[in-house]
């Protein structure tokens, strides 16, 4: 069976100043990134942020205008895709339609003229690992989406490449299957110990899979680090809004004379000044509050007042949609704790654990002191 770290060659990846322009559009505006050997790095961002182009550049399917790509200790910036020793799982799976599953798995090995015995052994290994045994003689058109997805992963694994690239591999699966395969990819990464780069626009995939989370926006890296760190200490409103579901709420507020109280209509918050850069009286700030960090003010004064429009009960929790100080606001409520409020009600909320995020309304950067 597979040993952890089957590939002993060092397969760290390093990107230096990668720029790419297509036509008049700057797609990548200077990307610097280190992908450590054996890590699972997730590139996440909204459509058009350049994440797929970056992945294709690493694969060699696009070539950067400037910059250097180093794989292991080799400069592969101008190398052909076939000379990079990488494997890619495409969003569309891109299975060879005229070949059986067995021949799809063997394709890369045959091109490299590996001995037949080794090819057979690899096919056996991979099909056992992914449960493809009974599908080996089928054509792609005779399989379900989930099965095709497995074959696409198997085709990558059979090659034992230095680096695995995943381009939104789950986006064509239904929700239940997506959760299942996501866990499998995580296991696979643990089993293989291989270096993997994974592109997605889904923040759940990004948070759950990543060792290293790279948030991209408009062709630049917005923030980069362990997923929980990025989640807890977003450097900008963009990152804060992108991670977490439902998204963070944002309210405009003014700093009071004491420089530690924030005020807006329906809002009165006292801050721990140690957590933020020094604020000036009357300074405008953008307050960020995650729906999961607020709770009903049952026995204390309310910090904010939510005018409720809609309540979505999910069973073990509920989301109250409404307005605070004229801005749309979502609060998470635990359903069993108390009777749920109704549309038209107002609800006093307090904060759990002082979890306030502050951003500059102009630059949209975080005003936290401890930002990485």
């Amino acid at each position: 069976m597979w040993q952890r770290g089957y590939h002993r060659a060092v397969s760290s990846l390093s990107l230096r100043g990668i720029r790419k322009t297509l036509g008049a559009n700057a797609i990548l505006k200077g990307i610097d990134l280190e992908v450590p050997d054996g890590s699972l790095t997730v590139l996440v961002g909204p459509s058009g942020c350049g994440k797929s182009t970056l992945l294709r550049t690493i694969a060699g399917l696009e070539s950067p205008d400037t910059g250097v790509i180093t794989l292991g200790d080799r400069d592969v910036t101008r190398a052909e895709p076939r000379d990079r020793d990488i494997a890619m799982v495409f969003q569309s799976y891109a299975l060879y339609p005229h070949l059986t599953v067995r021949e799809n798995l063997a394709f890369g090995l045959r091109l490299r003229k590996e001995p037949e015995k080794l090819i057979r052994a690899r096919i056996e290994e991979v099909s056992a690992m992914l449960g493809l045994d009974t599908l080996l003689d089928r054509l792609p058109r005779d399989m379900s989406g989930g099965q095709r997805q497995r074959v696409a992963m198997g085709r990558a694994i059979a090659r034992r490449p230095k680096l695995f690239l995943f381009d939104e591999p789950l986006s064509n699966l239904d929700a239940a299957l997506r959760n299942q395969v996501r866990v499998e990819i995580k296991k696979l990464h643990a089993t293989l110990g291989a270096t993997m780069i994974y592109v997605t626009h889904d923040q759940v995939e990004a948070m759950t899979l990543a060792d290293q989370l790279v948030v991209l926006s408009a062709g630049t890296i917005e923030q980069n680090g362990p997923p929980l760190t990025v989640y807890a200490q977003p450097v900008s409103r963009f990152v804060a809004e992108f991670l977490g579901s439902p998204s963070m709420n944002f309210l405009e507020a003014t700093v009071a004379k004491d420089t530690r109280t924030l005020r807006a209509e329906g809002l009165s918050l006292t801050l721990d000044p140690a957590r933020f850069v020094s604020l000036k009286p009357d300074q405008r700030v953008l307050v960020g509050l995650r729906p999961h960090d607020v709770q009903p003010a049952l026995d204390g004064p309310a910090m904010l007042t939510l005018a409720i429009d809609v309540v979505e009960a999910m069973g073990f929790e509920a989301f109250a949609h409404g307005h605070v100080a004229g801005s749309h606001f979502i609060a998470r409520l635990s359903s069993e704790a108390h009777a749920l409020p109704k549309p038209g009600d107002t609800l006093g909320l307090t904060l759990a654990d002082d979890r306030v995020y502050l951003f500059d309304p102009e630059s949209r950067r975080s005003l936290a002191r401890s930002v990485p």
């Binding site: 895709p81 076939r82 890619m88 969003q91 891109a94 060879y96 091109l111 792609p140 690239l165 064509n172």
Partner: protein
């Protein structure tokens, strides 16, 4: 359509069937007449409304199949060979030239001359082939290619290639780029990706395009009649026409010959129908 939808009432269905049967009869009537003529031993067309032979016999078929020239050449075998060689070589030439051209136009639509080249190809399709019959005749004469298979193949290929390029460009455009990119990441050169992934995926389109080129060469009459003057160089359509001469119209033999000429085309259609219908690319990528 919902499963609960009731079938239309009986009179409606009967009327629809009657209309379809009438349409089929309308389309088949002349064909049935040809079959009837071919099988009729009578010297003159009977002029009856019903396409049924008056004196059934296979004489016309025998006459067409076993005709010999004055020198003793078995003409039908010779002319059949001519037709097969010319049509098959036309199809092969068209595919061989059009495949790389169409692939280039599909995948690199911005290379120098791609736009104007495509327009020029389109322009060649706008003129009827007969328009160039005289210049072509002079060209072939100078090249000593009159009455040769090669001459005819070259002429047919000039019209078959542009058509094949348009057909195949569409086919290549419909094959997802992901497939080639997957092959290239897997270790293929661009050429290997083309040969081992794109061409197999385009097989149905290649088959259909080849069939069209073959058929248009097989059925072509005017140019063949212009460039060929010796009986032994004739293709079948030219040979066929000679049965209906100025002083003697052997309609029976003409009809028998027509049927013989259409059989191979029908057989090809039958053999390739899977490719005509099936889409081999389905299943490779999502959807």
């Amino acid at each position: 359509m919902t499963p609960l939808q009731r079938p239309p009432p009986l009179p409606w269905r009967m009327a629809a069937h009657a209309a379809v049967i009438a349409a089929v009869g309308f389309a088949l009537y002349p064909v049935l007449w040809v079959v009837s003529l071919a099988l009729d031993g009578a010297q003159r067309p009977s002029g009856r409304a019903l396409p049924w032979p008056v004196a059934p016999s296979l004489d016309h078929f025998r006459a067409v199949l076993f005709a010999h020239s004055r020198e003793g050449t078995w003409l039908f075998a010779r002319q059949l060979t001519n037709s097969i060689v010319v049509s098959a070589m036309t199809a092969l030439t068209a595919i061989a030239i059009a495949t790389p051209a169409a692939y280039a136009l599909a995948r690199f639509p911005k290379f120098v001359g791609a736009q104007s080249g495509t327009k020029a190809l389109l322009a060649t399709q706008m003129f009827p082939g007969v328009a160039s019959a005289i210049p072509l005749y002079i060209l072939l004469d100078k090249l000593h290619l009159l009455d040769t298979q090669l001459g005819l193949i070259l002429v047919y290929a000039t019209t078959a290639v542009p058509f094949a390029i348009f057909q195949l460009r569409g086919a290549f455009e419909s094959i997802p780029k992901d497939l080639e990119e997957a092959a290239m990441v897997d270790g293929a050169t661009r050429l290997q990706a083309f040969v081992r992934v794109v061409l197999p995926a385009a097989r149905p389109a290649l088959a259909v395009t080849a069939l069209f080129a073959f058929m248009s060469a097989w059925n072509e009459f005017i140019l063949a009649a212009t460039f060929l003057s010796h009986e032994s160089a004739f293709t079948l359509p030219v040979a066929l026409q000679r049965h209906v001469g100025e002083y003697d119209a052997a309609w029976g033999r003409f009809a028998a010959g027509s049927i013989i000429v259409s059989l191979p085309v029908m057989a090809l259609f039958y053999a390739l129908q899977k490719n005509l219908v099936g889409g081999l690319t389905s299943g490779g990528v999502k959807g």
